[in-house]
Amino acid sequence: MAVANNRWFKNTRVTPSLIFGILLITFIVLVGILGPMLIDVKMARVGAVKPNLAPSVESYFGTDSQGRDVFTTLIMAISPTLRVGVISGLVSVMLGLALGLLSGFFGGWPDAIIRTFSDVLMAVPTLAFTILVVSRMDRPNIIVVALIVGLLTWAGTARGIRSQVLTIRERSYTAVARANGESEVEVLFREVMPNLLPLMMASFIGAITAGIGVVMALEVLGLGNNVIPTLGMMIFWSQRFSSVLRGMWWWWSPPIVTIAAIFIGLFFLSWGLDRFINPNIPVNLGRRRRLLKAEQMKAAASAQSTLATTQQAPDSQQTGVLQVKNLKVVYETARGVVKAVDDVSFTLQPGERMGLIGESGSGKTTMVTALMRLTRPPAYIADGQVLLDGKDLFLISDEELRKLRLKDIALMPQAAMNSLNPVIRVRPQIKDGFRVHGIKLSDKALDEKVTEVLRKVGLRPEVANRFPHQLSGGMKQRVAMAIAISLSPKLIIADEPTSALDVVVQKQVMLTLSRLQQELNAAVLLIGHDMGLITQFADSIGVLYAGKLVERGRVADVLGNPLHPYTRLLIDSLPNLEGKKELFGIPGLPPELLHLPTGCAFHPRCPFAMERCRQEIPTIQSPTTGFDVSSTRAPGAPGSPKSAERRQVACHLYPQNSRLPEIKSVTTSMLTYATSENQQ
């Protein structure tokens, strides 16, 4: 299994913000540290030069009212300002880490006490409290001030660390560590702490920013150490001498610009760090996205032109209620473009129940969103057509598509998802389906419709008044089902609708779906990974592997005589209740879409692999006549789409063979992993 990188973090997510932030801060730090060595520091003392001079060649930023050279003072001031920020940041973060860890890891009393103090700190205005203490000091020691600020600002970090620790505690690797004999303390330091490093870095930057902010505020207010120049002191002195009103812009603007630069640098650094660490924040991949967009438009344009030449038979018996033609969906990752759905074609007749089975990496989830044109970046529809009753969903306008949704094609979402708006009750979420599709009825009549549709899915009317979080998993799915059937659509796409439900509830939900399907005579596309479920519910089945459709046919036919080796091995690996047998799964590893093998994606795991399989990708075709069903021969002719369509397979064993040979034994010696020879 090839690996793209050998680092702890998955992708590099270096953004312009991060780079800009690092550069700016580094620059300022260098100026602050090296600057004082390169200039004449005496010019920063009071009375060193003639006061109130405007900028000139000798004095870049002019002089202030106390006789200091502004430029020199500025350079001298950077380091103390940064220093205080770093010290208070360190104190704040160290305290925050320690207390957050204690709080999150041990819980109980320590947690309660720490949280109370953290709440107190939230209520206490930091600046005011600092003023309270510092105002008593004559010449506030910069270190002491930094300490005080650190002590007042640890709460934010602690809260973040605590919540992260709680999340980590849930993950079973801490339990595994204990099972490995690690003591509690070891688990804390060896397992939990390293995963807090990213958060710590981000908190550190935030704490530095806050530290500098508070200290600067103190100085501007006049509570700073009057002797050592810092940026805040410069602003204070300039205010004291009314530099703004006197128009001495050269005195107050340089420190302000420098401060602004520091804060901006810190901000971008922290922004960039967030994106670097957190895999959930989408990173704009810029150029590639624009390229793919262009491809998408090209695909749409070419499809437009073939539209004119191909015969569009409006009769859905010929074209089916859903016709998917050469669908290609790709998505971008930081490591390359992945073909999640690769040239898939199939047809669904009105009232037909089709199951689409696939494991991880098969592309089934991507397919669902594509069928409803809900594909969102980083996924893009690269090619193909999806015809609903002859109408190409990819070519119609957004408004037309919107009208079709729910009314003609409805989605029943995955059971594990939160498909219902958590802050609105069930009733309006059912009603808005009606409302948006132009059903103009009185409120009362709409309410009756809601009750009716709930009853159809076996729920009592009072469910409509509940909020989603008050319903069980099965009930939520039934609500989703109610919404899906509310406008009697022609096609229902059920995306793993029972995957998170208990087996008893699952059966109930599927029986209800079954009945509704018959009542509406709607076609249902059931996506899943459970062969048993699909067998019980569906009439026909499609098997997906690595983004391609590898077998298609009636369920009974495919079960009884699986043609594709993958299907065969898959069925054989299923446990059943017939009697105990030897268990064997499909050897090898599931396909890694970024590094697919050459030729047939299944060949490294296939007991019948031939040389041809390594070189040529098989196309899906009728097993007997070898007829390519993606062609456009006139319907009805012998060997034409309709008659051959019922059974298809994508495998080089056909049409020379009529069924799979016997599998003598499935030994791992015959099967190679996707090693470098087999890959592109």
Partner: protein, 332 residues
């Protein structure tokens, strides 16, 4: 539910207790006699350096009860707290601290709350729009600008604004809440004058605020727009605007409003810098003046009021949140 309110209220009391105890302790731990220092400072400015400071200090101490043992002072402190009696201003004796606070609060509250609210509304609206993937390019281009604005502390804006509008172009007044020569009355002239003086400080605040609120709203909205119920809503054929408002913004508002409430809680504290730069006579200036004249009672009293305000805001947030988030309001 009642139990929940009870718990939160206890927490509120606990916070007040701890915070105010700290307010009591911290200044007293630091060595030095505040009264003496204040008097010294006052004497120095008033030019009467020959007066016997010690005697003067003794009088004050007796008057303010500072010569009593610490625990006695602590109990008296709490008694005073209940009556909101913070003693007398050292600087402007016989004016009470409370009277000074009362004079200053309306200015701060009035000006800051309008600024915060404005910043919140404009910022959140902007942030929500920024999160919508279909918004035009020029809107998206505002993100870096907003990032920069929100990074810079607002009082720095203030200085720049004073210079540009107050000094260079002489359009707006450079400080104060109203013209010193004006007599305050409830009439149009007064109001106009007050508004005129409030424009610059409010602008500084709003600019900064818009940046922060917009970015935080954008972040929340982006997370929410990635949720499953958005996809399902789209699959129902709901128009974009409906989804954006009822499914997106409606959910994003919850954390945002919490943030707003907390901002209001810290309202008194946030104004310190802006008011000192613009010499706006609110709580901020009050503290600023007190720092300079070492008027510790005013400082203590002001901080205590700030804590009360912030803790109350937190309590209110905790009580009101269940009202807007049904997940907390209704049990299973």
């Amino acid at each position: 539910m009642l139990k929940y309110i009870g718990q939160r209220f206890l927490q509120f009391l606990l916070i007040i207790f701890i915070a105010n105890s700290l307010t009591f302790l911290l200044p007293r731990i630091i060595p030095g006699d505040p009264i003496q220092e204040a008097l010294t400072a006052k004497a120095a400015t008033a030019g009467r350096a020959n007066v016997d400071i010690q005697a003067w200090a003794a009088t004050y101490n007796a008057k303010f009860g500072l010569d009593q043992p610490l625990w006695r002072q602590y109990i008296n402190y709490w008694f005073d707290m209940f009556r909101l009696d913070f003693g007398y201003s050292l600087n402007d004796y016989p004016a009470t601290v409370m009277s000074k606070i009362q004079a200053a609060i309306p200015w701060t509250l009035g000006f800051m709350s309008v600024a915060i609210l404005l910043a919140f509304i404009v910022g959140s609206a902007l942030g929500a729009l920024l999160a919508w993937p279909n918004s035009p390019g020029w809107i998206q281009g505002m993100v870096p600008i907003l990032m920069i604005i929100s990074a810079i502390p607002f009082y720095l804006f203030g200085l720049a604004l004073i210079w540009i509008f107050g000094v260079k172009w002489r359009l707006l007044p450079t400080g104060g809440a109203y013209d010193p020569t004006l007599i305050l009355r409830w009439d149009w002239k007064t109001t106009a004058n007050i508004l005129q003086h409030a424009i610059l400080p409010a602008t500084a605040l709003v600019l900064f605020g818009v940046g922060s609120w917009a970015l935080s709203m954008r972040a929340t909205m982006i997370t929410i727009l990635g949720e499953d119920y958005i996809t399902f809503a789209q699959s129902k054929g709901l128009p974009d605007r409906d989804i954006f408002l009822r499914y997106g913004v409606r959910n994003a508002l919850l954390p945002q409003v919490t943030g707003l409430a907390i901002s209001f809680g810290l309202i008194l504290g946030s104004g310190v810098l802006i008011e000192s730069i613009f010499t706006y006579p609110g709580i901020g200036s009050l503290i600023y003046g007190a720092i300079n004249s070492k008027d510790y009672f005013v400082i203590n009293g002001t901080v205590a009021i700030m804590v009360l305000c912030a803790a109350s805001a937190l309590l209110i947030v905790d009580i009101l949140y269940p009202l807007i988030d049904p997940r907390i309001r209704y049990d299973k």
